[in-house]
Amino acid sequence: MLAVEDVQVRYGAITALRGVSLHVEKDEIVALIGVNGAGKSTTLMTIAGVLKPAQGTITFEGQSIVGRSPEDIVRQGIVLVPEERRIFPGLTVEENLRLGAAIRSDRAGIRQDLEEMCERFPVLGERLGQPAGTLSGGEQQQLAIARGLMSRPALLMLDEPSLGLAPQLVDEIFQLVAQLHEAGVTILLVEQNVERTLEIVDRAYLLNTGEVEYQGAADELREHVDVESSYLGDST
């Protein structure tokens, strides 16, 4: 479905990605793990079209998406829920959700999805008319994910959804991601919480200083990480 081949990304003189290759198949849930600065977020931002690769190819369902604008890539079916949520604090919850469906024009479908989101995320349903900035951190994360789902993406990319949340909220978010996957959403997940992530994903890539250091099924990766755990502390 998604294939990233030998992608390099530079920020000025610094090379952030040195030839990353990965793939995600339909109905899979795949994780990118690694320490801070390993290039996880950079990889997602590059797939989403915010950063332009200096080299390499990215194809989605057989079509190249390198050089496309972020808004075109959303139309291809890839949605990124970025780090730190980035909800629009001045807009109401409902406006945030409706903007998530900006690429769609089927009013009835949008209304139906909006109701569905309110059922799946009751907190949001109760606060549709409130400015999103008044929500708590966990609620904002739910809103960010719900907003991403409103475009009915073929591939949902989540960047550190558990970051900065209280432990019980972290549980909720991981449950939610697992549920979304069961409901048939293909997911590419970036996380620092390696333990929890490997519990819910099919496969994972371990990134280190801009390169894929190891890849495999969740169990294989867990063994590898245990061996190498010297530098992958249990960061939550």
Binding site: P82, L99, A102
Partner: protein, 299 residues
């Protein structure tokens, strides 16, 4: 009785001037909020509106048609500038965009100088612009009432647009976080074009009244509106739309107030005072005088 009349007179003058200032500031703030571009050429959009009044007004067309055409010309000019000058430098630094707008402003001003005339040209304005009505011993100029009403109606319509349509909330979202807005699939070009179109519309509207005040147009006519828009949007906190409107009204009240209070000798320095206030505000309240509105943006 006299006292009441004075107060009413003051209110009408201040609200009508403040309304115009609010429209000016809003047009500038809208583009700034999305692109972080201080559009120096905004004043020249008022100029385009002014010269359109001159050109179309020379024919036999009724004034209302002339006015509509002029507003349309300002919108077209604004969209054209975005496409030709600003889009190619959009990804460059903020300084590059800024200097570009400075150059565009100079370009348009000198274009008018060269193509029309460096001298003041008289513009035909309908008679109600210079007429007054007396209501209960109160002398009111019709153009003041008109600008008061037009600005309020325009602001109301814009508020509805920004709050009730998807494009409107996309504009507000883009002002918050442009990249995130694009990550939801909102087209950057569409949002920016919409902002420039509204900015041009507001400049065109302002031109009708600005030209109407003196019934004339010169190439430098845009300078004062753009300066006023600067001041008002700084008072409101750069980039906040509600703040810009509030800043415009506040500035209107301040101007009319200073005109009545200050002695002639100090009146000369009014502009210096105003810009002194701007600098102080930027230093001590960069979020604007009317802040606290950002989180619960009303417009």
């Amino acid at each position: 009785m006299n006292m009441v009349n004075d107060i009413l007179q003051f209110l009408i003058n201040a609200l009508s001037l403040g309304g115009l200032y609010a429209l000016m500031a809003l047009g500038l703030a809208l583009v700034y909020s999305i692109l972080r571009l201080i559009n120096f050429a905004y004043g020249e959009l008022v100029m385009v509106g002014g010269y359109s009044l001159l050109v179309f007004g020379a024919g036999p067309l009724p004034w209302i048609i002339v006015a509509l055409l002029s507003v349309l010309m300002a919108i077209v000019a604004s969209l054209l500038l975005e496409r030709v000058a600003f889009r190619p430098v959009r990804d460059a630094s903020a300084n590059t965009m800024l200097i570009t707008s400075f150059a565009v402003s100079t370009l348009l001003q000198n274009g008018a100088l060269l193509l029309v005339s460096p001298r003041t040209r008289a513009v035909r304005v309908p008679s109600f612009f210079i007429e007054n009505v007396t209501v209960g011993g109160l002398l009111i100029s019709k153009s003041n009432v008109l600008s008061l009403v037009v600005s309020l109606v325009t602001l109301a319509i814009l508020t509805l647009f920004l709050r009730r349509t998807v494009l409107g909330s996309a504009l507000r979202a883009a002002a918050d976080d442009f990249v995130m807005t694009r990550l939801l699939g909102v087209r950057a070009n569409q949002v920016i074009a919409a902002a420039f179109a509204i900015s041009g519309f507001l400049a065109g509207l302002v031109a009708l009244f600005w030209v109407g005040r003196t019934a004339s147009v010169v190439p430098q006519i845009g300078l004062n509106p753009v300066l006023i828009a600067f001041v008002a949007s700084v008072i409101g906190g750069m980039g906040s739309l509600a703040g810009a409107v509030a800043g415009g009204y506040l500035l209107g009240f301040l101007t009319v107030g200073l005109n009545t209070v200050l002695p002639q000798g100090l009146l000369d320095f009014r502009q210096a005072f105003l810009f002194g206030i701007v600098i102080l505000l930027l230093l001590f309240r960069p979020q604007g005088l009317v802040s606290g509105m950002q989180s619960t943006e009303r417009i």
